[in-house]
């Protein structure tokens, strides 16, 4: 009888002429009416603006994507060949939660060393990630889960998305001195002070090479001192390595900072990305690794990293990882890749020299030494936001308002125009 009563009630509810109820949801009021329009992303917004500009003279030195000397995006030959080999062959079944085992193995070798004992001893917890962003985010979530009261120390300046990543992971942030505006180089004294003054056991975000956005890297000696101080303080070093190969042209050289820390016995974390150095930007392929005490702990930590990835996207995409495995797993393709990375890095180094020389020839009153002192894809020009705005509005040159120039966007065809424009907006500075 109770059931019958309940059934009757349900029937009444559904058949009731519910004008009030209907009106409520049929009103023009959206659940989202108070949603604010979000500000444009400072970096990706630049490319959007560039694409919308009809000027034939426009130059994009905004986003950090490599261009050849004709200003065209490049698909590496080793990548094309890898893609030809694998097209139409995969059954497309889910990767394991931790991603492609083969890809991760090869990726660890790049960071830790081809013959690393740490890899042999299986002490590294590592998972395939959605490029560098995904690796940093997984780490930030992991840090939050297991050290909920910790903070992350982030250099000033840094890639803008670093702040967003740790914020969305609900990890509070501190900053440390890094860039010295007066010298346009490293504020080493300020950096060391901040390391010493941070509470013991703090978490630090370090750029392994080719710092974004400044292009300013510590020297080998400076890295050794940083590593030593980290040991004294028991700090946790988390390396974001998005440009291995792009700094010097030699991936082994570019991993030097990481190797110094490993030699000193730090148990580090690393985010690696193939976006730039293999040109696999859109494939979103990278790796997060954490060096642990032993194999058992590595298994444990890996299980927790997978647990964090599961409610984000379940398992990572296959295609980019398959290309990486194919390239790094084949001696000839790997050699081809190493050559192509060197070509990219050398072109950028050449453009740095050309830009500096052009500015000097124009009789600029300022020093432009930093253009060739800095390394990697970016040059922190030292220009103000107002000067950058002038470059955009008067010369159709697009870059981020912090004055960061993506050297990969500079070509023999536009370096003169760029130098001239920079000279125009800075000559009376």
């Amino acid at each position: 009888m109770y059931t019958a009563m309940r059934n009757a009630m349900v029937k009444r509810v559904l058949s009731r002429r519910s004008d009030f109820g209907e009106a409520r949801w049929m009103s023009s009021s959206s659940w989202w009416k108070s949603v604010e329009p979000a500000p444009k992303d400072p970096i990706l917004g630049v490319t959007e603006a560039f694409l919308a500009d009809p000027s034939p003279d426009k130059v994009n030195v905004g986003v950090g994507a490599y261009r050849d000397d004709n200003g065209k995006p490049v698909v590496l030959d080793c990548v094309r060949e890898a893609e030809r080999r694998i097209a139409g062959s995969s059954f497309m079944e889910y990767l394991p939660m931790g991603g492609s085992v083969k890809m991760v193995e090869e990726t660890l070798k790049l960071a830790y060393g081809e013959n690393s004992e740490l890899i042999k001893d299986k002490r590294i917890a590592a998972v395939q990630s959605l490029s560098g962003t995904g690796a940093c985010r997984l780490f930030a979530d992991f840090q939050k889960r297991f050290h909920p009261d910790s903070q992350i120390y982030i250099p000033v300046p840094t890639w803008s998305n670093h702040h967003n990543i740790w914020r969305d992971a609900n990890v509070s942030q501190r900053t440390y001195h890094y860039y010295h505006p007066e010298t346009k180089g490293l504020d080493f004294a300020g950096l060391m002070d901040d390391i010493k003054n941070a509470p013991n056991g703090s978490f630090f975000l370090l750029h392994a090479c080719a710092h974004n956005p400044t292009g300013v890297d510590p020297t080998e000696e400076q890295w050794k001192e940083i590593s030593y101080q980290f040991k004294v303080k028991g700090h946790f070093p988390f390396f974001d390595m998005a440009y291995q190969g792009f700094a010097s042209g030699d991936p082994e050289k570019d991993a030097k900072a990481i190797r110094i820390f490993l030699e000193d016995g730090h148990q580090i974390g690393i985010s690696q990305s193939y976006a730039k150095n293999m040109g696999l930007y859109g494939q979103r392929v990278g790796c997060l690794s954490l060096l642990c005490e032993d194999e058992k702990q590595a298994v444990t930590v890996k299980s927790q990293l997978q647990q964090l990835a599961r409610p984000m996207y379940s398992n990572p995409p296959l295609h980019g990882a398959a290309m990486v495995s194919t390239i790094l797993g084949d001696a000839d393709l790997k050699n081809l890749w190493l050559k192509e990375v060197q070509v990219m890095a050398n072109r950028i180094i050449g453009m740095r020299t050309a830009l500096k020389e052009n500015l000097e020839k124009l009789g600029s009153p300022l020093s432009w030494e930093h253009i060739t002192n800095q390394i990697g894809m970016f040059c922190y020009s030292g220009m103000t936001p107002e000067q950058v705005d002038r470059l955009t509005n008067e010369f159709h040159i697009y870059m981020t308002r912090n004055g960061r120039i993506s050297m990969a966007g500079v070509t023999t065809g536009n370096v003169g125009y760029l130098a001239n424009a920079i000279h125009e907006v800075t000559k009376s500075a």
């Binding site: 329009p37 990767l95 303080k233 599961r310």
Partner: protein, 409 residues
Amino acid sequence: MESNGDSVFKYVTRAPDIAVYAVMVAYKEDPSPFKLNLGIGVYRTEEGKPLLLNVVRKAEKLLVNELSANKEYLPITGIAEFNKLSAKLIFGADSSAIKENRVTTVQCLSGSGSLRIGADFLAKHYHQLTVYMSQPTYANHPNFFVAAGITVKTYRYYDPTTCGLDFQGLLEDLGAASSGAIVLLQTCGHNPTGVDPSLEQWEQIRKLMRLNGLLPFFDCAYQGFVSASPDADAQPVRMFVADGGECLTALSYSKIMGLYAERVGALSIVCKTADVASRVESQLKLIIRPMYSNPPIHGASIVTAILKDREMYGEWITELKAMTDRITSMRQQLYNALHDRAIPGDWSHITKQVGMFSLTGLNAEQVAFLTKEYHIYMSSDGRINLSGLSTKTVPYLADAIHAAVTLHA
């Protein structure tokens, strides 16, 4: 101070194994020459092999040869054409919501990624942070919302006595839900039960939800996998959109195009006005950027190539139909085999249930028996993947069920 010694993660404990993966591992490690894997969540052919759709292979080869293709970063919201085509697929080519620009669609990492981005958006911008999901539901469903900080509740769904829908229970629970609560609905091919509401029942659900201001969030992982017609399978979503109200949808191409590994999906949010949709889209970008910046290009490029070409679309539908026909055939064969063996119980649910999965009605003890004695693997709730069967193996399963039910009633 600290030197080589302790890791900062010294106290991290091992995460529990995830059940469905544990079943896969157990199956793999089983040395028995005859074993049957019905625990998986992917389609298998009659030969028990994974299936790469011909149209997918074709599309992939086309893409390789497109030398001019730009492989750079996608926009944060993914491939624009992919998003348009995905919205068309789920809402219909004639959808007024699309025509009125009230829909924002963003490319995400399959259904999982779409659910998580949707959940994060709701956590940030919605006022009622409770979600109701069916009892039972896909094992990972709660995790997306918990990760976003939304409280998870359930509504009655499956009736074990009928192996069908507990419609009264569903209506009561949704009727009692807090006003404005989010309700996660599975569009078709319910995982794990295979039990879908009828269209009449969907209409009642729609009325009730709109009455109580409940926000629908549709998980669409099997559109086209139930009836072979994507339009027919999307009816529940379209009914809700037709009444002018708002909703979210998470579309996955994993099963319907066999693109599991490439993580291709789309989150759509249907809004009251175009202006709202535009603002919502801008906010979705802020959630995506600190998670992975922009989505992976490959799988979405394949989907775009297929959906935008009339001929390839037709080929896809043909291959989709072949998969669903085979599943329907397995259901019929299994039912016949159980019926022929005069196994006690009503097994009509095997053919009444739809999509890739069925809740057989076997209990945990019976499932364990099947695994131990017959090397047949399935999830402990008795869920089987119909595509894991073939004409050859149906009799084996039927015999095993006969033994299980007889010995462990």
